[in-house]
């Protein structure tokens, strides 16, 4: 192989970098998901599975629905319950930012910019 020595060395370094996460964490405990503090109110805007997967899209839609289209309520099709479209006045009335939202976001290194403007109420719920 032309320049074989350099290629093999380079390849070895590349493989080492690429597999870094695996061999660096050898021997550590298994990954544990973030522990969220669930709210007392059981009737959320939608099902847990739906919110897990799509709360981002939901909030995006809510944002445009309320601010731009002046639509104020959202109906949960399963339970028929109506909710006010608002991050602060609906979601944050039950969920606490530090004990719920931040737990997953910090653990997955997600930094939603919602908190640049929206104020999370402090104190116990």
């Amino acid at each position: 192989m032309y320049d074989g020595g350099r290629i093999l060395v380079g390849l070895a370094i590349f493989v080492a970098f690429f597999t870094f996460p695996f061999w660096y964490n050898l021997g550590n405990a298994a990954y544990q998901g973030p522990k969220l503090e669930l709210p007392k109110e059981k009737n959320c805007v939608n099902t847990k599975q739906f919110m897990l997967e799509k709360h981002m899209q939901l909030l995006n839609e809510w944002r445009d629905e309320y601010v731009r289209k002046h639509v104020i309520s959202y109906k949960n099709q399963l339970t028929g319950q109506k909710f006010k479209i608002s991050l602060t006045k609906t979601c944050l009335k039950c969920h606490q930012k530090e004990k719920f939202c931040d737990k997953c976001h910090s653990s997955f290194a997600v930094q939603p910019y919602c908190w640049d403007c929206h104020v999370a109420p402090k104190g116990a719920k």
Partner: protein, 258 residues
């Protein structure tokens, strides 16, 4: 030829990546909403068919009342107190001389032009700020309120150049640096977006009056200009009122009862 092909492909890819979300948004639209829950497209009963307007009774307004109005608005809406010219003002005190430039040049004969009244966004019928906004971050609602979408604003400040009344403020700083207390019920906004009085749209949705009207001890009328039986329409029929810079054709909905 290979380098050129590469650059062409790169350019086309870049253009495609920019246009893709526009096309996606156009095709996705309604299906995504039908999947889950239902956003009811009903306007709140409190705003249907309405055209909000304000009439400030300059005879009843005193500096003490004005201070209360400004304080109530600032507290509720997390308006920072910035001690320099990069300030944020939603509603503030101005002399008649500055509120109505071009109408008050008789300073020597009376002190009227130095008397104070309130300045705020006029929520015009034909707002130049809405006309110039390149992203529709400021837009006119059906009920007449000139609204701000802080999520969409890119901070170009064209609306500030366009407003003939100087009603708009820009967040040069992160406002939280200058906020002593935060009201969690209303967002604080962030650096880089333009803001102004929004006629307390969040209060109107709950059937309440704007904060400044509430604490004004009857000096400010607020109501539906479309309803001939509303208090504001009655007072405008009885008293002579000025609007700011009517010759510009913006048709403000804030009246100053003389």
């Amino acid at each position: 030829m290979k380098r050129r092909q590469f650059l062409t492909t790169l350019g086309l890819a870049g253009a495609g990546l920019t246009l893709a979300p526009v096309l996606l948004r156009a095709t996705q639209g309604e299906e995504a909403k039908a999947e889950h829950g239902q956003a009811e497209h009903s306007k709140t009963e409190h705003s249907k068919g309405k055209r909000w307007g304000m009439a400030i009774d300059t005879k009843k307004l005193t500096p003490e009342i004005m201070e209360k109005c400004i304080a109530a608005c600032n507290r509720a809406h997390n308006i920072p107190h910035i001690p320099n010219k990069k300030e944020i003002k939603w509603v503030w005190m101005e002399t008649f001389h500055h509120l109505f430039p071009g109408q008050m040049y008789d300073k020597h004969y009376s002190s009227f032009s130095e008397d104070k009244s309130l300045a705020l966004c006029n929520h015009c019928e034909h707002p130049p700020c809405v006309r110039v906004c390149p992203t529709q971050a400021t837009f006119k609602r059906d009920d007449g309120i000139v609204m701000m979408d802080f999520h969409r604003c890119i901070g170009c400040r064209y609306c500030m150049a366009a407003c003939p009344f100087g009603s708009r403020s820009f967040n040069f700083y992160d406002p939280r640096k200058f906020l002593k207390t935060e009201n969690p019920e209303f967002p604080t906004r962030t650096k880089g977006v333009v803001e102004k009085c929004l006629f307390c749209y969040e209060r109107l949705d709950e059937g309440k009056l704007p904060y400044c009207v509430e604490v004004a001890e009857g000096a400010i009328y607020f109501g539906d200009l479309n309803d001939p039986n509303s208090e504001i329409r009655k007072v405008l029929a009885k008293r002579f009122a000025l609007t700011r810079k009517p010759e510009l054709g913006t048709v403000p909905c804030v009246y100053y009862l003389i």
